[in-house]
Each structure stands twice: as structure tokens, then as C-alpha cells.
Assembly symmetry: C2
């Protein structure tokens, strides 16, 4: 495409591309925009060095020269990271020459489709947890680099922390640890299992504030061993198997009976938003969530697309069946009642802001190739929390349904 566009001159036409999702994954009621900061940081590094150019030796010299000089010099607008989005929300708009924009498609979509999928699933879990903390511990169930981005996206959506140390180093996500069954099992003596020895070692190394994993053998004995080794000041116990609601009640009673009334109960083991919600009445203090959050809980990609919407100021759109896109460079605002509850997403041509009283969602992110957005991960977390708070009640339902608010496309 690039070679052909450079040959016939279309490479240099002014283009606007838009990132949006035609729909939310099966019956979801809202999505959470995530990936913006990762994308802006990747954009700055999106260059073709000699090694990259050498691997593209099937291209003609003019195309290689163009790539060697490449850096993005255009403008980008979009929703701030952490903002809610709905079908047809113009999450990102990229403006520049056709060539400089078109080669960003895979980078843009990979980051937004991944991070948004994880944050959108994580937000449902945060909402289902009703204020109880969640720890992301799914690194083992996704690609090793996706794991780091997943930890960031889950934290952005309201998780308390992650077991992924690299996410702490790269993004400042709080790292929270726990131990594995292997640690208990390695304390096997010739005479058999020795769970108490494992607990003693962990308390010696980490203090009584640590979290002991009590379900390697028998949970009741595990809790007894834990308190015997750590005393009633033990920080927490973790249960990773069995009927977690039943187990949590039983363990709570046992802990209270042992005087460990302040010892918290962490549960984990194939939790998703539905099972988290199902544990609302159980004496659970912390949820550890793995597979479901890093795989987007059934929706591992956000199905965002990257579409050319304007060429030299003219709106353009594909017309093939069932995949219409709406041409023109667009922006969006969100309307709300006086109470703050949102009622409608209004998408309009960027140069004609409607008269409605609403909050404009689109902000400048890049100008002439330079990032002008200084939104932090903490800002994004605050936006998700505010967004969830602004949803109508129906919007927080976990069941399948319609988007929480309709999107209205205003013509040019």
C-alpha cells in the first residue's frame, strides 16, 4: 500500500483516520478506553532503523528512503485514557498524510484492542466487588508482554495491585505478593508434608502481616497451622479452591474463634465478575483474579477498527454490506442529567459542536508529532471511577443487554 501510494502521490494527501468500535462485546453495557499512554509512548519510538529496513529489502528504494525518514508529524485527538466509550465513540482520531497515518494501524489497534479489552472486563469486576480490593494475578495465563500491559489495564480500571513485578517497574502498579502451593509442598519431609514449616519460614521472612495459603492439604488444619505459626495478628489467609463462599464463612468462623479477628481472607481460583458478585455476602476481604481478567472475561479483544474517514477534507466511507462506517473527522460529547447520570453520547463533525449542554470528550493528545497530553495513570483510574459512578443503574448490570446510553450521530 505504502509503495503504491508513494508512486501515485496519494501518500501525501491529508488524511484522518478514526478508531472506534461498531459494537461492544456481546451484551456489554459500556467499555473503558485504555492504551492511550502506551500508544503515545510507542508512537515516539515508531521508527525504522537499519536492521528493520534490511528486513524490508523487498521494497523499492523510494519506499525504504521514506521509511528511514519516518516519524509521525501529525495530530492526534481522542478520549482521555480511562474514559468510558460506547458503540461508534470516536476514541481516537489521527491526522496527517495518508502514508504517515496508514502505517500506524497495527500499532494503534494492537494496543487499544488489547488494553481496552482488559480494562473493560476489569471494570466490571471492580464494580462487582463493591469496594473490596482486587489483585490481578493472571500473568501466567497470557503472553509474557501482554501480562505487563494487562496488569496496568486492570489497575487503571480500579484493581488494587498486581502480582506482576515488571508492571510495577514499568508503570508503577503496586506489586502485591502471595505464595504458591509449591512453597508449601517443598516443605515435605521424609515423614510427610510439613505445612507448619512452610508457614513458619514465610512468617520468618516476611513477618506476621503476610498472606498464608491454607488450602494445599486440609483447609481447617491449614488455618490452625497458620495461626499457630503466625499468631492472631496474621495478615491474611488465602483460599484457592473449593466452594469459596462456604469456605470463606467456615474460615472466618475458625479465625474469629482463634482470636484472629483482624486476619483477612483472600480468595482466588477462576474468579470472574459473576463469581465475584456471587461472593458479595461472603466474608471475603480481597479477591485474587487471574485468567478471566487477562483474557477480557470472554472478550479478549475490543474489536476496535481503524478507518480512513476523511481525505483532503472530504468525508469518505466504505459502502460494502454490514460494515458501513461514517465518514468525516468527528468529536464527541456526553450528555448527563443534573444528578450526573449520563444519558447520551453525541458524535458530531469536529468543526461543528452541537448546542447541547454536554461534556466534550475529545481532547488533543498530539500536535505536530509532539505529545501534548500529560494525563497520568492515576488520572485514568480516577476517570474510570467517575465513569462507573455516572452510569445509569442498568449500565452496571452484569447481564447481557444494550449499551448503557445510546450514541447519536449528528450529521455534518
Amino acid at each position: 500500500m505504502l509503495a503504491a501510494a508513494l508512486r501515485d502521490g496519494t501518500a501525501h494527501r491529508r488524511a484522518s483516520f478514526e478508531v472506534f468500535a461498531r459494537r461492544l462485546p456481546f451484551g456489554r453495557r459500556y467499555g473503558v478506553v485504555a492504551g492511550t499512554a502506551r500508544f503515545l509512548s510507542a508512537l515516539a519510538e515508531f521508527r525504522f532503523d537499519d536492521a528493520a529496513l534490511a528486513s524490508l529489502n523487498f521494497l523499492e528504494p523510494e519506499t525504504l528512503r521514506w521509511l528511514a525518514d519516518y516519524e509521525f508529524r501529525g495530530d492526534i485527538d481522542g478520549y482521555p485514557e480511562g474514559e468510558l466509550y460506547f458503540p461508534d465513540s470516536p476514541v481516537l482520531s489521527i491526522h496527517g498524510t495518508f502514508a504517515e497515518c496508514v502505517i500506524l494501524e497495527t500499532l494503534v489497534l494492537s494496543i487499544f484492542n488489547h488494553d481496552t479489552a482488559i480494562a473493560s472486563a476489569a471494570a466490571r469486576m471492580v464494580s462487582a466487588a463493591g469496594g473490596r480490593p482486587l489483585i490481578e494475578m493472571g500473568s501466567r495465563r497470557t503472553h509474557e508482554q501482554a501480562a505487563v500491559a494487562s496488569a496496568r489495564a486492570a489497575y487503571l480500571a480500579g484493581f488494587t495491585g498486581t502480582s506482576n513485578l515488571e508492571a510495577q517497574r514499568s508503570f508503577g502498579v503496586p506489586a502485591l505478593g502471595t505464595s504458591a502451593h509449591a512453597f508449601t509442598l517443598v516443605h515435605t519431609a521424609a515423614t510427610g508434608p510439613d505445612e507448619a514449616a512452610a508457614f513458619r519460614a514465610q512468617v520468618d521472612a516476611l513477618g506476621v502481616g503476610t498472606t498464608l495459603l491454607v488450602d494445599t492439604y486440609d483447609i481447617t488444619q491449614g488455618v490452625a497451622n497458620a495461626i499457630a505459626m503466625a499468631g492472631p495478628e496474621l495478615g491474611a489467609v488465602r483460599i484457592d479452591s473449593g466452594d469459596l463462599g462456604v469456605m470463606a464463612r467456615q474460615v472466618r468462623d475458625q479465625l474469629d474463634g482463634l482470636g484472629a479477628t483482624g486476619t483477612r481472607i483472600v480468595v482466588s481460583g477462576d474468579l470472574d465478575e459473576y463469581s465475584i458478585a456471587g461472593l458479595a455476602a461472603a466474608p471475603v476481604d480481597v479477591y485474587g483474579v487471574g485468567t478471566s481478567v487477562v483474557t477480557g472475561s470472554g472478550a479478549p479483544t475490543a474489536s476496535m477498527v481503524y478507518k480512513l474517514v476523511a481525505v483532503d477534507g472530504m468525508p469518505v466511507a466504505k459502502r460494502s454490506s454490514h460494515k458501513e462506517s461514517h465518514g468525516g473527522h468527528k468529536a464527541a460529547m456526553r450528555l448527563a442529567k443534573a444528578s450526573g447520570t449520563i444519558v447520551e453520547e453525541v458524535v458530531y463533525p469536529a468543526d461543528s459542536v452541537p448546542a447541547d449542554e454536554g461534556r466534550v470528550l475529545t481532547v488533543p493528545l498530539v500536535r505536530s508529532g509532539s505529545v501534548v497530553d500529560d494525563s497520568s495513570l492515576a488520572d485514568a483510574r480516577a476517570r474510570v471511577a467517575a465513569g462507573l459512578h455516572s452510569l445509569p443503574w442498568d449500565g452496571l448490570k452484569l447481564s447481557r443487554g444494550e449499551p448503557a446510553i445510546p450514541t447519536r450521530l449528528v450529521g455534518a
Copy 2:
């Protein structure tokens, strides 16, 4: 865990960990092991440099010194990459000190769970395509680094190539291109769309062997424009929307009527193994597969686990409910009929090979920290093809069912 184990000496016990899946994802009949070569290459780079150690400053000095000296010095056995696997197949066994093995868990599982999920889904698509080529084009629908690993895993499973150039550079996966609707749309003139100009530009740059995307506006007109610009020697047309079976028949007739009897038809657009199978009778020459393959077609992770199975030669196993694991260092063989059709997976204690006549699956991969496996990606592809060929008929069904062959665990 590491700090506590170093303190009480268990860090230095001889340990064996095993990677296996308790079950195949919902009703799958086989899985394809993938990730071995990526893991062995990551293992060689798994070190803690000064920057990494600085980010771990919450650890005590002894633990940091241990990490600074870390390199894996143990042994690894496992199934060769591309081998089929079933529930409880001991896909990988890692032997060394408890400490040097336990810290590999996330690295091992991230790579195997991701790559195996993609390869296992891709193999079903290859099987459904019945010999027609498949192109992986899902990079935009997964994390930017996972995209590269996905392209490799899909190729390993029998795909013909990928649209991901980095996968070509990193792993030698053949790169196969196509163009996007944006390329046609950018050829919009003041007088309106000019699809013919887009096709002419692409043919000028890439020759008549190229693939023209004909569904941006009207498919019939698109095909007419394509042949008008490229002539009847045009390599291929791509259809990305509509009822692909109906469209393919209509386009085939039109192409044949125009004398373009050798022009191939590439179809794409939310294809998965079921829709690929549904197109078996349609005149389709190549399938382009995106979202479904990079997300594992409903099973984005292989749910493999990493369990401590032996300590100082003693088998160990967790006993909490519903998550029993089977202790001891194990190996496996696969039994087959004289025809080559496989009938049973036999998992046995590594030091007591059963008398059954079967093919031993477990091979040495690492000895004293050095990789001893020289299996190539081409070898892995050949193994997948042979594996699919060896399945009983029922094993190739796309519908949900039992594993194609049972796994028999032989006691010590």
C-alpha cells in the same frame, strides 16, 4: 517465597516441576504444544541485571545476591514443539533446585499458555480448511508483542503465512500482504470514489500477481474494475464482507466470464474454524483469518499449570478439593494402531518405562542449563501435520466432545 526458601534452606532442595493441562478447553479434542523454542530462547536471557535488581530493593541482600548470580543450571525434558497433547500430558518437566525452578513459573506458563492456545485453535482451522491455504492477519486484534508470537504459532500449526512483518524478521514466517479499504478510499477524487485508480496504482507498484480488495463499494463493479486494470492475469481478489459463500460463487462466475479463470479468491472477515468449514463447497482459494486465531477461537489461554511434583526424589501433590495433581517426575508415550491411528496416551514415572509398544514423546531439551534441542520451526510444522494425520476421525470433529484419545496414568 524465594526469600523464605533461601532462609530455611528449602531453596536448595532438588525439585521437579511439571507443566500440564488438567483439561482441554471446552470440548476440544486435542491440543498442539507450542512455545518450546520461544521458552528456551527466553530462558537463556532470564537474568537479573542491575536495573532489575534495583527495582527489587524490597528484598533482603541475600536474596538479591542470589538473583544477581541466577542462571538456570538444571535439566528440562518435554514434548517436542508441535506435538499433540491431551489432558495430563506432561508437556514439560523442569528439574533443578527449588529456587531456580520456582522463579521460572510465570515465564514458562505465559509462553506455553499463549502459544499453545493459538496453535491449538489454528490447527483446527487448518484441518477445517482441507488443504486450502490460510493467512494469519489478526495482529491488530491482540497485544503488539503477542501478535508476533501468534503469527509464529499459527504458522507452526499449518498456516501458510502472516501479515505480520516482525514475525518474518524474528521467526522466518513467510509474510503475505494485502491492502486495506483505506487504500481504495484514499483514491477519492473531488468527483467521488475512484476505485479503478486505486487498483491501477497497486498493480503498477506490485504487478498483476497482486491481490485486489474488491468490496469497498460494490463487489460486482469492484471485480470489473479489478480485471479492467490488471487484466485476466490478476493474481487474486479479496472479499472481506457479505455472505462469503454467496459472494465467492458470484465472483468466481464473474471472473471466469471475464476470462480470469486463474485469478484466485481470498476471503476474510471474522472467519473461524466453523465458518471456514462452512465454506468448503464454495470456490474459495485462500482464507484470511484474524481475530479468531489470535484469540484462540474462544480459548485464549491453554490453562496449563506449573506444579511441583517431586522434592528430593519424593513425589508431592496438592490435596485440596478438585485440584489434585499427580506427584512424581513423569514421561509419556503414545500408543497407535498399525495404521498409525493413535489410541492412547500413557503417562508413567520417568524411571519406569512401561512395556507397551509406543512412541516415547518426552525428549531432552536442556541439560545442565544448556539447550540440547535443535528442533526447528519447520520440524514443528511437520509434527503438527503428522499429529493431525494420526488422530482418529472423531478427533478431527469441530464439535464439542471428549479428548480424541484417553490418557492413562501409570502408577510408580
